[in-house]
């Protein structure tokens, strides 16, 4: 349509210039002000077309983000009323319906493992997990996020929650199933990690790959703090079922997680991120047996802004204490990891990790190990990684393994977690 208008404008211009030329001959009076007025009119017209185009784009966008305006008048019966609306298939209506779809992304994760591990053997090759993300803004007050993971044995709702973003007094709340805010690595999806696996302490004390991940509520708020310091508290209440850490034998066996995060920019390129976490729930021995977990996490990041896509460095440690009531004696275990990741260039990353952890049920038994990781990014949407992992399990059982991973992402561009 715009081209038609442009064409029309051009024609008008052409005609007037012809006219102007003709008219200059007999009268020789250049009609300067009229032309500039015309030019002004054209540029005003162009402005209006651009504004209209922008509104159209915005409208499409708003359809996609489901503006509440048309709903609010009919809020409750909207669902019932829907079929009464004329159903048009194909054409513009079809694409408008598509615009309402959530952002869809798929992340594939292929892992190959070579080497011998008698304690925790891994298959030689596996399509470890395919994660489907469905994300959308529900209305100006909330957004919805779903992450379904398709493993080789079945489907798992990794996360699915609604986030209420417009609560009073600066609160942000979530309801659904979610990775709990216990430390750093527990909150991260597999494809975000800087290793093929998770730290040893995660497997030994914090529920392994799934971690503390449960159905419940979460509420968080930024706390007042001295200038320049970001302080945030998160409180979460869950059903009480998380991997081998928490088990709810009765309805009242709820589990809780509390997390306090402090963050400060040391300079524009360097920052420090500290957190303390506490989790409490009942374990698989029954309602009378509690497991409590304590965590401290510390992350230092460096990324020079002028070369942010080429170089970065992240140093991270997490320390965990587990206190598990069991018979005959309560078991207290401790474990930690320290990792460092350096970005060599736009596509290359080099990392290392040191692991050490007791086991939560047998705390006089300690495993330790270390990893060396190289990651290559062909583009922002695929990643190839190699990891050499050495583990010395208790009783001097050694495992040397080579882990290879290919990850690839389809569809909507996800946000980069920080």
């Amino acid at each position: 349509m715009r081209y038609v208008i442009r064409l029309a404008i051009a024609e008008v211009l052409f005609a007037t210039s012809l006219f102007a030329q003709e008219s200059t001959n007999p009268q020789a009076v250049p009609d300067q002000p009229d032309i500039s007025a015309l030019l002004q009119k054209i540029s005003d017209l162009e402005d209006r077309i651009i504004a209209m185009e922008g509104q159209m784009r915005q409208l499409k966008d708003q359809q996609a983000t489901a503006q509440p305006a048309p709903h609010s008048e009919v809020s409750a019966p909207a669902l019932v009323a829907a079929p009464q609306q004329p159903i048009a298939l194909g054409g513009a209506e079809g694409s408008a319906a598509k615009a309402l779809n959530p952002d869809i992304s798929v992340i594939g994760d292929f892992i190959g493992v070579a080497g011998h591990n008698p304690i925790q053997p891994s298959p030689s090759m596996q399509m470890h997990e395919s994660e489907i993300g469905l994300q959308a803004i529900l209305d100006p007050y909330a957004r919805g996020d779903f992450f379904l993971s398709f493993g080789e044995d079945g489907v798992n709702l990794e996360e699915g929650y609604i986030t209420f973003t417009s609560l009073p007094a600066g609160f942000v709340a979530r309801a659904g199933k979610m990775r709990s805010a216990f430390g750093k690595v527990n909150t991260l999806h597999n494809h975000i990690l800087s290793w093929v696996d998770r730290p040893l302490v995660t497997y030994n004390l914090v529920g392994g790959e799934d971690g503390i991940n449960d159905a419940g509520f979460s509420i968080q708020r930024i706390l007042p703090a001295p200038k320049g310091i970001f302080l945030e508290a998160t409180g979460q209440l869950f059903r009480g079922d998380s991997a081998d850490v928490f088990t709810a034998s009765s309805k009242s066996d709820l589990s809780q997680v509390i997390h306090l995060r402090g963050y400060k920019d040391i300079s524009e390129s360097t920052n420090l991120d500290l957190g303390v976490s506490y989790a409490r729930g009942h374990n698989d021995l029954g309602s009378n047996f509690l497991t409590q977990l304590y965590g401290i996490d510390a992350t230092m990041r460096w990324k020079p802004l002028r070369r942010s896509i080429y170089h970065s460095f992240v140093l991270r440690s997490e320390f965990f204490w587990s206190q598990r009531q069991q018979l005959p004696l309560e078991q207290r275990a401790f474990g930690f990891y320290t990792s460092a990741d350096y970005q060599l260039g736009r596509r290359w990353f080099l990392g290392g990790r040191f692991d050490r952890s007791d086991r939560n049920r047998l705390t006089n038994v300690t495993d330790q190990g270390g990893s060396l990781v190289v990651t290559y990014w062909p583009s922002e949407f695929s990643q190839v990684r190699g990891q050499y992992r050495f583990t010395r399990y208790a009783n001097n059982i050694d495992a040397h393994e080579l882990l290879m991973q290919v990850q690839f992402s389809l569809g909507a561009h996800g946000a980069h977690p920080f």
């Binding site: 540029s43 402005d47 651009i50 504004a51 185009e53 922008g54 509104q55 784009r57 915005q58 966008d61 708003q62 983000t65 503006q67 509440p68 803004i137 209305d139 100006p140 007050y141 957004r143 986030t163 973003t165 417009s166 609560l167 009073p168 600066g170 609160f171 942000v172 968080q220 708020r221 930024i222 320049g228 970001f230 945030e232 995060r261 963050y263 400060k264 920019d265 524009e268 920052n271 991120d273 990041r301 990324k303 802004l305 002028r306 070369r307 942010s308 896509i309 080429y310 736009r346 596509r347 583009s379 922002e380 949407f381 561009h413 996800g414 946000a415 980069h416 977690p417 920080f418």
Partner: protein, 315 residues
């Protein structure tokens, strides 16, 4: 003795109340100003032009930073949670970092769809809107059109008008002020535009290469001809094959200038420059890309100055 003590305590309590009043008054005065946060420095510069001293404006990304890859640092939340208005570039430029910041801000005013959220792309002329199917075989394409649209002064004017109108809505008491600021900006921009157009007129039709597709609105406005990109595809770092091809194109087309954004590595552009004799110019896509470039006007002054110098020395 006792009397003086009384006077001292009176003075102290008076001072206390005075201080308290001062604090209350200053916070009240501060509260009167709208807090505007923008995703990029250009939007901040334009907001500042029309908002004047009735707004406090801060940008999340720095002008010398790649706007596609900003980190969603929690410190930004400290600004966002008090914001009355968030101005974004839109068209998925900030897709990697702005949505989580908005979600975590705990600020209902700036959520997408709320009155305090303004996507400036709606006011602007957008180029390179893909027709038909888009695939990532074309790289990290911007599927809604090119979001680097603010480098056309015409768009600058439209964005400023859009922001001014939004400020009027949010703070009707100062509507006349914002309108007057916009008109003043409009006038100054028209004058500057005439000057820029005149300065650039001798170089219309000149060929340039850019690193990323960051300058289509600029090159179109000033009639430059972009014949290639250092990136083989948007968001994909240079590859030897593409670089060789580009060198041939530059030689064949007799292109004299390679424009590079300040956040890209200069190694490949410089080797292209050595091979072809083209000049490598670190060109600013944003206000704040260099310390001395603090306004929308200075951005064009700086870039046009660089370009003219490069074109002239290319002879």
């Amino acid at each position: 003795m006792k009397k003086t003590r009384n006077y001292t305590s009176l003075a102290v309590s008076l001072l206390f109340w005075l201080l308290l009043c001062a604090v209350v008054l200053t916070t009240a005065a501060e509260a009167k100003n709208l807090n505007v946060v923008t995703s990029t420095a250009d939007m901040a510069a334009l907001a500042q032009e029309v908002g004047g001293d009735k707004i406090n404006v801060e940008s999340i990304a720095k002008g010398y930073q790649d706007p596609h890859f900003v980190e969603a640092k929690p410190s930004f939340l400290l600004r966002l949670r008090h914001a009355d208005l968030l101005v974004s570039v839109g068209l998925q430029l900030e897709i990697g970092w702005l949505p989580p910041l908005i979600t975590q801000s705990g600020n209902p005013r700036i959520q997408v769809g709320a009155p305090g959220y303004l996507d400036a792309s709606q006011f602007s002329e957008i180029l390179e809107i893909p027709q038909g199917a888009v695939t990532r075989a074309e790289g990290d394409v911007h599927p809604l059109g090119n979001p680097h649209y603010w480098l056309d002064p015409e768009n600058g004017r439209r964005i400023a008008r859009g922001i001014a109108n939004k400020l009027k809505d949010l703070d009707p008491g100062d509507a006349a002020y914002f309108q007057q600021r916009f008109q003043d900006f409009d006038r100054r921009l028209s004058a500057a535009e005439q000057k820029w157009d005149a300065e650039m007129r001798p170089y219309r039709g000149r060929k340039v290469v850019t690193y990323h597709r960051s300058f289509p609105n600029f090159t179109r406005h000033f009639g430059l001809d972009v014949i290639g990109y250092v990136e083989p595809r948007p968001g994909i770092p240079p590859t030897p094959g593409h670089t060789i091809e580009l060198i041939q194109v530059i030689k064949r087309e007799n292109c004299k200038v390679v424009l590079v954004e300040p956040y890209f590595d200069l190694k490949t552009p410089q080797s292209i420059g050595r091979e072809t004799g083209a000049q490598v110019v670190v060109y600013l896509p944003s206000v704040g890309g260099e310390k001395q470039v603090t306004t929308y006007f200075e951005l064009f002054d700086y870039d046009i100055g660089l370009l003219i110098k490069a074109f002239q020395s290319g002879h």
